[in-house]
């Protein structure tokens, strides 16, 4: 149960073979008792979770109108635009890393495989919780599973969520079976894991794309800054991959620091290169669409949606590309960490823009209504984020999360 903290690993900038060998020989303990559960920050987060639980109860008793500021002009607020769409985008790291390890056989990324898949699982879990409280009849959430509607993109999305959340649970389950020492189940799982991964990657790719396709139906309401026609599904997919890479990288950097785990820096450099490529593709497709539809001018007309668009593209796409294009930046953990946050915030803003700000022009000219989230909407969101962080921390403490 001894680990070498002095050589290599986080911050040293140089991978150390010895460390890798030790880690690979699975000398890492199966659960980490060095992680202190009840730090002041965790106490605050648990408090947020309790507040969110109380709000959730209030929403169940008094309804959506009492708890939220959503209205007929803005039927989808931040619970969908931020919690659900953001949670699912956050999960993009799961299938990206799983594909890298199992499908492309880039074994270098194995050390971040478990955290990436766990993040995806938590992202989906939070998305499903948000959805549960957001829909008008939470206890009918299961309806799509028996009331098939193949022509409904929302039904396609619902089936994907059910199947993919299950697949993610299976992909994360080896940690649990290791913890409770069930070698037979483990052997069985390991033998078939690659099929679960291939199936999961297919589901997740399609689910990310289908979430974008949800908005294909609203061309006459959405701003051309975000309604990109038949590119819609693919823009969601590309940005989810970007957010996934940034998320996995960030959380590995943080947990390496916080939980004192050693992760080869080459992994972060590789993720940063992947992020750069993804963002460049995103930028090219976006600019191409804006030029071909003659809507580049809308981005600079000074309206609220145009500001949000510039914020999203400038902070989340352009600046990260400029930073990562510099080789020095791309190979420094501190600047990678900063860029990761820019991308994460950028994609979250993008999801809210697509869901909320893109119909602002329509609503002010045609429907005449406005929306700003209520305190309860914001607090429930805060509680959900806290829940994600606390669950991740518990997994790091009690499960062999950083073993592979």
């Amino acid at each position: 149960m001894k680990r070498d903290y002095k050589n290599g690993g986080y911050g040293s900038g140089q991978p150390t073979y010895n460390i890798m060998k030790k880690v690979m020989s699975s000398e890492v303990m199966s659960s980490d008792h060095e992680i202190k559960m009840w730090t002041p920050r965790t106490v605050v987060m648990v408090l947020f979770i309790m507040i969110a639980a109380a709000i959730a109860l209030y929403r169940m008793v008094y309804g959506l109108g009492a708890a939220t500021n959503m209205n007929d002009a803005y039927p989808w607020g931040i619970w969908l635009g931020f919690d659900l769409l953001g949670g699912v985008a956050m999960a993009g790291g799961g299938f990206t890393i799983a594909a890298a390890i199992y499908i492309f056989n880039w074994k270098k990324y194995k050390p971040i495989g478990r955290p990436a898949i766990l993040t995806a699982f938590l992202g989906y879990l939070l998305a499903v919780i948000a959805l549960f409280f957001d829909i008008g009849h939470p206890f009918r959430l299961w309806h799509p599973s028996i009331m098939w509607q193949v022509h409904s993109i929302m039904w396609v999305v619902a089936i994907h969520v059910i199947l993919y959340t299950t697949t993610l649970a299976i992909e994360s389950s080896p940690m649990v079976f290791e913890k409770f020492k069930m070698p037979k189940v483990l052997t069985f799982l390991k033998r078939y894991m690659v099929w679960a991964v291939i199936f999961g990657c297919m589901l997740s790719t399609l689910h990310q794309a289908s979430l974008g396709a949800v908005f294909l139906i609203a061309p006459s309401k959405m701003s051309p800054l975000w309604f990109v026609g038949s590119f819609m599904p693919y823009m969601f997919l590309i940005s989810a991959i970007a957010m996934g890479l940034a998320m996995v990288s960030t959380e590995s950097i943080i947990s390496a620091k916080a939980f004192n785990h050693k992760i080869d820096n080459e992994i972060f450099f590789g993720l940063a290169r992947g992020l750069l490529t993804t963002l460049i593709i995103y930028l090219i497709v976006k600019v191409y669409y804006l030029i071909t539809t003659n809507s580049l001018g809308v981005a600079f007309n000074g309206s609220m949606p145009s500001m949000m668009f510039l914020l999203e593209m400038g902070l989340g796409v352009l600046l990260p590309i400029l930073l990562l294009a510099n080789r020095k930046m791309r190979t420094s953990l501190n600047s990678i960490a900063a860029v990761n946050w820019l991308v994460i915030i950028g994609v979250l803003v993008n999801r809210m823009n697509v869901c909320i700000f893109s119909i602002e022009d329509y609503n002010t000219t045609v429907a005449g209504a406005s929306y700003f989230p209520s305190a309860m909407e914001l607090l429930l969101t805060l509680g959900l984020i806290s829940l994600g962080v606390v669950l991740f921390k518990m997994a790091a403490k009690y499960l062999p999360l950083f073993k592979y």
Partner: protein
């Protein structure tokens, strides 16, 4: 891990099945207008803004089977605390139908865009191929194959509100204040057909501004009105296009368009006016596309994508497996 022939066959069979399922999906084409489809023709030039249609819409839809029915049987304007007539500004969970007014400049001339005014009646247009029906994940919104009426089955609805996002005309409304909410929209009084009745807004329209009838007849009537010379007299049908009751009026200057003939793939509620329709609150960005096609183009690709991604994933896994051994 090792792959054997059985595993490989299983995967191939799986993707084969999924590919096969795409064939049956490809058959779901947009539905044509039924010859027995019913609808409404609203002529803004005949409307005097009395709002009789609004009051009677609420009254008759609060009866059993109506879109505003609740267990108490109260009419929405009766359960306001002071029990006085409500004057809604918009469609809502309590209002299926609303008369709005356009006004410009001095507002003196009826049915003129400049220095004039016009009324307009908003409610569900009952699209020939409705976006709301296509997007509902549980089939809570349904289009009657004969009458073409788009109605709502509350017990299926999960309350996701995708219909509100999808409807280009912004029609479905949600009962935000209810712990057990419903989507509320005009269902063309389909609960009254069995007793030989029809849409209340048409039955109680005193001027024939709203008339009920078969969509084919209404389209005929609308085209006839457009072909009339402004200033000549015409016997406008009242209540129903085939009621036989008429009211003779001077033909006004119509905007050269019947709204609803082609919009969003065609609708069963059609409007005529003297003022351009974008000035009456209709979103000019609405195209003539049948909106369900927009998502269907993507959905029909999904089964093929499933198969392609599974095959691509499997193939890539085996091609790159050698790299594993080297490391």
């Amino acid at each position: 891990m090792a792959i054997n022939r059985r595993d490989f066959l299983k995967v191939s069979a799986g993707s084969g099945l999924l590919l096969a399922s795409s064939v049956s999906l490809a058959d779901a084409a947009p539905k044509p207008l039924s010859s027995d489809a019913v609808g409404i023709l609203y002529d803004a030039t005949l409307c005097i803004g009395c709002k009789s249609c609004m009051v009677n819409c609420k009254k008759y839809n609060s009866m059993e089977g109506g879109a505003l029915y609740n267990e108490d049987g109260d009419v929405p304007y009766e359960y306001s605390p002071d029990r006085i007539y409500d004057a809604p500004a918009n469609l809502s969970g309590k209002t299926l139908n609303i008369i709005k007014a356009y006004r410009n400049g001095t507002g003196l001339n009826k049915d003129q865009a400049e220095d004039g005014f016009s009324f307009v009646k908003n409610h569900c247009l009952h699209c020939v191929d409705p976006a709301c029906v296509s997007v509902c994940p549980v089939g809570a919104l349904i289009k009657d194959p004969v009458t073409g009426v788009v109605s709502y089955e509350a017990h299926k609805c999960i309350g996701c509100r995708y219909c509100q996002v999808a409807c280009p005309f912004n029609i479905p409304k949600f009962e935000w204040d209810e712990p057990s909410p419903k989507i509320v929209k005009c269902q063309l009084c389909h609960h009254r057909y069995a007793e030989g009745k029809y849409a209340a807004c048409c039955e109680f329209c005193p001027t024939g501004a709203s008339i009920f009838g078969k969509v084919v007849d209404l389209q005929e009537e609308a085209k006839k009105r457009l072909s009339l010379k402004p200033g000549e007299e015409y016997a406008y049908p009242v209540k129903r296009v085939d009621s036989g009751e008429t009211m003779t009026q001077k033909v006004p200057h119509y905007t050269e368009k019947v709204y609803g003939l082609t919009e969003a793939g065609g609708t069963q509620y059609m409007l005529m006016a003297g003022v351009p329709f974008d000035k009456l609150g209709f979103n000019p960005r609405i195209t003539d596309d049948a909106y369900p096609d927009l998502t269907w183009k993507y959905i029909k690709k999904v089964p093929i994508l499933i198969g392609a991604l599974l095959v691509a994933g499997t193939v890539t896994h085996f091609i790159t497996r050698g790299d594993d051994k080297e490391s």
